[in-house]
């Protein structure tokens, strides 16, 4: 009979943890998509062999401590300002790989100006945008991307479009700007989605290294704590309610908008 030690061999290895993730225990709630999103970004950096050239920018929000988990040089930015921080790092080091990792409140509310102008200038950086439609870290308040009718602690009866305004499709918005080369919306709720999201992130970094302009990957994700649902229910709710409003797939490729019903 085969012993366990006979199985644990290099040739049988189907999965390993990237050394670019630290051993620190993730501060995210069980079931949250952030951990997976972190991992695929770090796997791409490892696979590209660019750890020594990479500088990551952490936001304010749930992923404010991204530098505790991403085992690379990182800069923690003020709320919403990550694209400005990344702009300057990249301008001073045009050959380095620079990315921001931001949530919806950070990127699409307080940092809207920095997001739009970095995209419009066509900075050769990559923005990874986690959209869970809520301010998770501060306890589940309404975000710019909170969809109609969605209940949060500051829209306790559901988002009312008349009084609270419309959810902002900032990804479609930045896709309109001449400075963006690749804009995609992905998810990490199933293994297949994770593989697609990783391919999109890989493509984004490849394009950055070719100096073709800003690359932007949105990951529609869950916030089971903020949504007050179990992790499984949260993912089901996301598929049923978020994806129709935030459809997955590439929005802009090679600087050209992809023709879909949503554009």
């Amino acid at each position: 009979m085969m012993e366990i030690k006979d199985i644990i061999k290099e040739e049988n290895l189907v999965y390993k943890k990237t050394p670019l993730m630290t051993d620190n225990v993730l501060s995210y709630c069980p079931g949250c998509g952030h951990g997976t999103a972190h991992r695929i970004v770090m796997e791409v950096i490892e696979e590209l062999g660019v750890m020594e050239q990479t500088i990551g920018i952490a936001p304010v929000g749930c992923s404010v401590l991204a530098y505790d988990f991403m085992n690379i040089d990182m800069i923690q930015a003020a709320h919403g300002r990550a694209p400005a921080v990344a702009t300057a790092v990249k301008r001073c080091y045009p050959n380095k790989v620079v990315f921001t990792y931001q949530g919806d409140g950070d990127l699409a509310a307080i940092g809207t100006a920095e997001t739009i102008h970095a995209c419009n200038r066509g900075e050769n950086i990559t923005i990874v945008f986690i959209n869970n439609g809520i301010y998770g870290m501060t306890g589940g308040q309404m975000a710019p991307t909170t969809i109609e009718g969605m209940k949060t602690s500051t829209s306790p009866y559901g988002r009312n479009l008349t009084s609270m305004g419309n959810p902002l499709k900032i990804t479609e918005l930045v896709a309109q700007l001449p400075g963006t080369n690749y804009v995609s919306r992905q998810a990490v709720h199933t293994p297949a989605a994770v593989r697609r999201a990783k391919r999109a992130i890989r493509k984004a970094f490849d394009i950055q290294r070719e100096n073709k302009g800003l690359t932007f990957v949105e990951i529609v994700s869950n916030c089971n704590s903020g949504w007050k649902l179990s992790p499984v229910k949260a993912n089901e709710w996301m598929v049923e309610n978020m994806f129709p409003f935030y459809p997955l797939g590439d929005i802009k490729v090679d600087g050209k908008l992809v023709k879909t019903d949503n554009n």
Partner: protein, 361 residues
């Protein structure tokens, strides 16, 4: 002798930044300092030295660009004027908290609010007391001439990197706009990437080689005990600045019965008032703080016992006067005089204030 030129203060500081080998300037137009960005763009610094110059979409973006490039170990300069510097405050607090070196120039205009575009010195409190949140200090240099606008770039970066602390050059619309003869320094080469790693590689986020742990630039620690320890470290740094970096100059204080204290533009005006007063037989001296933080408190305290009165001359409603009073600990009467809201006092007005508030008062 270096190259001599007739320049505006704003142009001189920009030219000095290029010659210092500054790696990047990030700014946003605002009167009365827009010439800094205009001069840099006109000079094509990307061709002269490879310096990056970028007009940001806002002051918020500009100061965070400074934060980013400084976090990556580069020599970074920015400038703005009062309302813009108010917008910088959040970023400056982060820069101080994360201990990043950089030089920021404030070409002060009258306030509050949108105020006016004329010169003022009413940003003293904002600068030396910490305009942003938290316990931090900005090392503050106060130029009184176009020459010092240029010279304080080199000195500012020396101190910024020595202490890993932001340095403020607190100028005003008069120094920024007036033209004077300025002697420029020789062009320094910018640091190569290898030099940046050698000088700043122990802390800067410039990409992690396999041979070291990752470098993290942050001002955050959710563990309050660690944050208190970090604050202790910052305070120790500020005390070291107070012990080692105070700069000031004195004029005719040897036999002085009265003293004027003034910095920047007001010091230039007070020098003329001093001549007028001496001609009338008034034994008055002048102390010009060159560093506003650290403040020359010790020098003032030493002078205080033999003085009959001190007049603080500032283009504000009276801000530095509070630091003078703290320094002399009640040993001598201290009064304030100054026009403000964009008005520059005349030497005669200062002399009159000296006679009315100090000598006759």
């Amino acid at each position: 002798m270096g190259e001599l030129k007739l320049m505006k203060g704003n142009e001189a500081i920009a030219e000095a930044a290029i010659r210092e080998g500054v790696d990047g300037y990030f700014g946003y137009p605002i009167t009365p300092q827009s010439e800094v960005l205009e001069y840099l763009m006109m000079e094509k610094p990307e061709e002269r030295t490879g310096m990056v110059v970028l007009q940001a979409e806002s002051e918020l973006a500009a100061i965070n660009m400074v934060y980013g490039a400084a976090a990556a170990g580069k020599k970074i300069f920015t400038s703005s004027s009062s309302p813009g510097i108010s917008l910088y405050q959040e970023g400056i607090s982060y820069i101080a908290g994360a201990e990043l070196p950089c030089v920021i120039a404030n070409v002060v205009r009258g306030g509050p609010g949108l105020g006016t575009i004329q010169p003022s010195q009413a940003d003293y409190f904002q600068t030396v007391k910490g305009g942003g949140h938290g316990d931090y200090r900005l090392f503050t240099l106060a130029p009184a001439s176009v020459q010092e606008m240029a010279d304080f770039i080199e000195l500012g970066f020396e101190i910024a990197f020595k202490y890993r602390n932001p340095v403020m050059i607190l100028s005003d619309g008069m120094i920024g706009q007036m033209m004077e003869k300025v002697e420029l320094k020789e062009q320094k080469p910018r640091w190569t990437d290898e030099e940046v790693i050698k000088l700043n590689g122990s802390w800067a986020a410039i990409g992690r080689p396999a041979t070291r742990e990752r470098n993290i630039i942050t001002s955050l620690d959710l563990d309050s005990l660690k944050m208190e320890a970090h604050n202790h470290h910052l305070q120790e740094k500020y005390r070291r600045m107070e012990a080692e970096e105070v700069r000031y100059e004195t004029f005719q204080t040897e036999d002085a019965e009265y003293l004027m204290v003034a910095y920047g533009s007001s010091a230039r005006i007070a020098q003329k008032s001093l001549v007028l007063a001496r001609a009338k037989g008034i034994k008055v001296g002048l102390l010009r703080p060159i560093t506003l933080f650290p403040f020359p408190s010790k020098a003032l305290k030493e002078l205080a016992p033999r003085l009959k009165g001190i007049l603080s001359v500032e283009m504000s409603a009276g801000q530095m006067v509070e630091d003078i009073r703290l320094a002399v600990e009640g040993l001598v009467k201290v009064e304030h005089f100054g026009r403000y809201g964009g008005i520059i006092h005349s030497p005669e007005e200062v002399l009159q204030a000296l006679e009315n508030q100090i000598i006759g008062g």
